[in-house]
């Protein structure tokens, strides 16, 4: 029989903070953390903006992990969020470490290792390639270092589905616990600012000229952020027996692929539709039971339009009663971390019985009659959440989180 899966620990490192209470309050207030960036540059680009993380000293990269903490920024964020989630779950020593694993996702992961190498080779020639590059440029080390940090010996793997990577990792972790292959999993995603992303989005005219405005008629593109989100998943029954705080049940997920274009989303939000419908089929959740949708909501014209169309296709008239919001309006698009952070947000929404807003919304996309939770969070009865994510290449994943009685 399939085991039920609980979320018992949450950890984030974001521009809105790393303490869950402060993070949640900042989101509910609709505070925007997208600002001029210091300490990160990209060739030929001036006045970059983004939502940067100020890590508490306690979260700094452990000595010896990398000789250059700036270069290893993604690892630093991943380790910090996982440490916080692990502590939040109170799971240390509870399980046989061999039955606990790590599923982690990233869009670009260790891209800074590539940038670092390019600069060294440009200055010093091919001899600048060092012995550690092969290991450091391997994104799997994000998952591996988390496992080492917590002395875990279960399945440890890295999923890459571009900006839905966090959700893909969480979905894969869910399957392992549901099937009994693991007792608990640490799952999430991390990404930092990379010049590939900034330069690429600039050339595609997909970078917002100011601050992103998801679901606003004036939206003009993405604003980026950095960060990491991690959740601890356990067998629900065992979590209950040990008296763990259960934020939510992860009831299952849906997954789809657009197969349409290497960057552009599929037409009419079709991929989102199939992911949401599969999520409902797999979990037995009826559309009337859905209380909230955490949108991918990047602020690009095409993504947001597709998401609205998908809401209409899946929920029909009922869609007007299903609030949908995008926290990317506050902490930027954190790429592979985004959906993992948003899973934490859904867990907190279920815990606090409140919904985070879409900030900066002044002229909402009105054609679909959707409730975007404009500008300020609000109390709400929250029973079941969908957390939607999409990535370049057409990778869509929809998680289903439910309140546990």
């Amino acid at each position: 029989m399939t085991r039920r899966v609980a979320i018992t620990g949450c950890g984030v490192v974001t521009a809105a903070g790393a303490e869950l209470d402060a993070f949640w309050r900042a989101l509910m207030d609709g505070t925007c953390f997208i600002k001029p960036l210091r300490g990160f540059t990209a060739p030929d680009m001036q006045d970059l903006v983004g939502a940067a993380v100020e890590l508490p000293a306690a979260d700094a990269l452990p000595a010896g992990t990398d000789s250059d903490p700036r270069r290893a920024r993604c690892v630093e964020l991943a380790l910090a969020a996982s440490r916080r989630a692990f502590a939040d779950a109170g799971i240390a020593g509870v399980y046989d470490g061999g039955r606990v694993g790590v599923a982690f996702g990233t869009t670009m992961g260790e891209e800074r290792q590539i940038a670092d190498l390019s600069e060294r080779v440009a200055a010093g020639g091919a001899a600048s390639v060092d012995a550690g590059f092969l290991m450091r440029s391997n994104n799997q080390r994000l998952a591996a270092l988390i496992a080492e940090q917590h002395d875990l010996g279960g399945p440890v793997f890295l999923t890459a589905t571009a900006c839905s990577s966090g959700n893909a990792a969480i979905g894969a972790a869910y399957d392992l616990i549901a099937s009994g292959e693991a007792d608990a999993m640490v799952a999430g995603g991390a990404d930092t600012f990379t010049r590939l992303i900034y330069c690429g989005f600039t050339r595609m005219s997909a970078l917002s000229k100011g601050v992103c405005k998801p679901f606003d008629k004036q939206r003009d593109g993405v604003s980026f952020g950095e960060g990491a989100g991690v959740i601890v998943l356990e067998d629900l029954e065992r979590a209950r027996r040990r008296g763990a705080r259960v934020y939510a049940e992860l009831a299952g997920y849906g997954i789809s692929n657009d197969a349409h274009h290497i960057t552009a989303p599929g037409p009419n939000g079709d991929g989102f539709v199939r992911a949401m419908r599969q999520a409902m089929e797999q979990t037995g959740v009826a559309l009337e039971q859905v209380s909230y949708v955490s949108a991918h909501g990047t602020g690009t014209p095409y993504n947001d339009l597709g998401e609205c169309q998908a809401m209409q296709a899946v929920f029909g008239e009922h869609g007007k009663h299903v609030p949908i919001s995008s926290i990317k309006s506050m902490i930027g698009h954190t790429n592979g971390a985004a959906s993992a952070i948003e899973a934490v947000v859904c867990a907190l929404a279920l815990q606090h019985q409140a919904l985070p807003p879409t900030a900066g919304l002044s002229d909402p996309e009105a054609d679909f009659g959707l409730d975007f939770v404009p500008n300020k969070g609000r109390p709400a009865r929250v029973e079941t959440c969908f957390s939607l994510a999409a990535g370049f290449g057409g990778h869509n994943v929809c998680l289903v989180l439910k309140k546990v009685a």
Binding site: P43, S118, A144, G153, T161, C199, I262
Partner: protein, 407 residues
């Protein structure tokens, strides 16, 4: 997919299509024949500092697939697309006169850690030297780690899912396990597990600087003389589906994916124990006793620590059966193709189980670790299952059990 307590995961999963692209051969039977004959594609590569490498110089994408936009993709992506096409064709699915392929029922799992890296390096070099405005913008999305998988899914209209697993040498077996799990849970009807590895100069240079490479002509796997590895280009793909679906369309399976299990040990000193645990979990998940293992296939690559871990893991997992279970490894012939190796191992194991003959370990003379039945020559196999193992440098361990029957 350890199958022991999830009723959904008990759904038997079969392989119905297979392909390989290596310098030795571009079909599975020919590759296995070459391996049985002890052939090797390794040769010194001047552009890689004289290190041995296996390079598929004759690869020409247009020979294998006519896919729109192929030219913009890097070599690994092209090889992956071609391998997927050949495997779908072999499975009789909609490519060349086969059954119509419903893209909504097709998923792709790609095992790729570095399949994007030459594009990413090129993009970054251009940013530095040419600036943003003169850098080809189409390179950017293709520089993502997920890009090869996305391009393969796009090429075949795969709308069920596309997931990339980036776990180094453990990716291939892990991807087969993930694909089988997604099928068992009803998320697609067909899944192509595909992988391609190409020789990126920066990676080879780093491996050389780390002392990982064997001197030219000295790649010895599982052998006392082992002193390093050599890398090899390859692509491989396998089509998985539920046994009932294959039966319904009268497609004879190449074999069954019985169980996959994964573990981890960051410390190389604990790697053998972790891999042994993965083997035991996979055997338990497939309800197979060590004595029923007809063939063991390892990802040993000539790096002494890696080879020792694989050997000690098999000794521990197979117990009393270790000394009589034929043991093979293919990297001595075709080099280490990282993520792709696991898929190659699986295809060769299916062929070995089918033909009843196992291929030997190239140039094997004297074991580094005693107690196992290393094959220096081709050997006949008893009926049974195959146990496949692999590890990554980061510490991921994977074990897969394959069989020609589902008991």
């Amino acid at each position: 997919v350890t199958l022991h307590d999830d009723s959904r995961a008990r759904v038997p999963i079969v392989a119905t299509g297979a392909s390989v692209l290596t310098p030795l051969a571009d079909d599975v039977a020919a590759l296995v024949a070459a391996l049985r004959d002890g052939k090797s594609s390794l040769a010194p590569a001047a552009d890689l500092g004289g290190a041995d490498a296996s390079r598929f110089s004759a690869f020409d994408a247009t020979r294998y697939a006519n896919v729109r936009g192929m030219r913009v993709y890097n070599r690994a992506t092209q090889m992956g697309i071609c391998a997927a096409r050949l495997a779908l064709n072999d499975a009789g699915l909609g490519v060349e006169g086969g059954a119509p392929l419903d893209g909504l029922q097709l998923g792709i799992v790609t095992a790729s850690t570095f399949g994007h890296i030459d594009t990413l390096l090129e993009y970054d070099r251009n940013l530095i030297t040419l600036g943003v405005q003169r850098t080809n913008p189409t390179l950017m999305p293709l520089g993502l780690p997920s890009a090869p998988g996305a391009a393969i899914a796009l090429a075949f209209g795969a709308k069920a899912f596309s997931v990339t697993l980036s776990d180094g040498g453990a990716s291939g077996l892990g991807a087969i396990g993930l694909g089988a799990r997604l099928l068992a849970h009803g998320r697609a009807r067909y899944c192509v597990v595909v992988s391609a590895f190409t020789l990126a100069a920066e990676l080879i240079a780093s491996a050389k600087a780390a002392g990982m490479l064997a001197p030219a002509g000295e790649l010895h796997v599982l052998d006392r003389r082992a002193q390093g590895t050599a890398f090899g280009e390859a692509a491989a793909a396998i089509v998985l589906e539920r046994a009932d679906d294959a039966r319904a369309r009268d497609k004879a399976p190449k074999g069954f994916v019985r169980a996959h299990a994964a573990t981890f040990a960051g410390s190389s000193a604990r790697r053998a124990d972790a891999l042994a645990r993965a083997c035991r979990n996979a055997l338990a998940g497939s309800r197979v006793e060590p004595a029923q293992v007809a063939l063991a296939s390892t990802s040993a690559n000539g790096v002494p620590a890696v080879d020792r871990a694989e050997a000690h893991a098999l000794l521990a997992a197979l117990g009393d059966s270790a000394a009589r279970t034929p043991l093979t490894a293919l990297k001595g012939n075709v080099g280490d193709s990282m993520d792709t190796s696991g898929v190659l191992q699986a295809l060769c194991a299916f062929e070995a189980l089918r033909s009843g003959v196992a291929m030997p370990i190239a140039r094997f003379e004297e074991p580094a670790v005693a107690g196992l039945r290393y094959l220096a020559q081709p050997a006949e196999l008893a009926p049974g299952c195959a146990l496949l193992t692999s590890t990554s440098d980061s510490g991921a361990c994977s074990a897969l059990v394959l069989a020609t029957r589902h008991d």
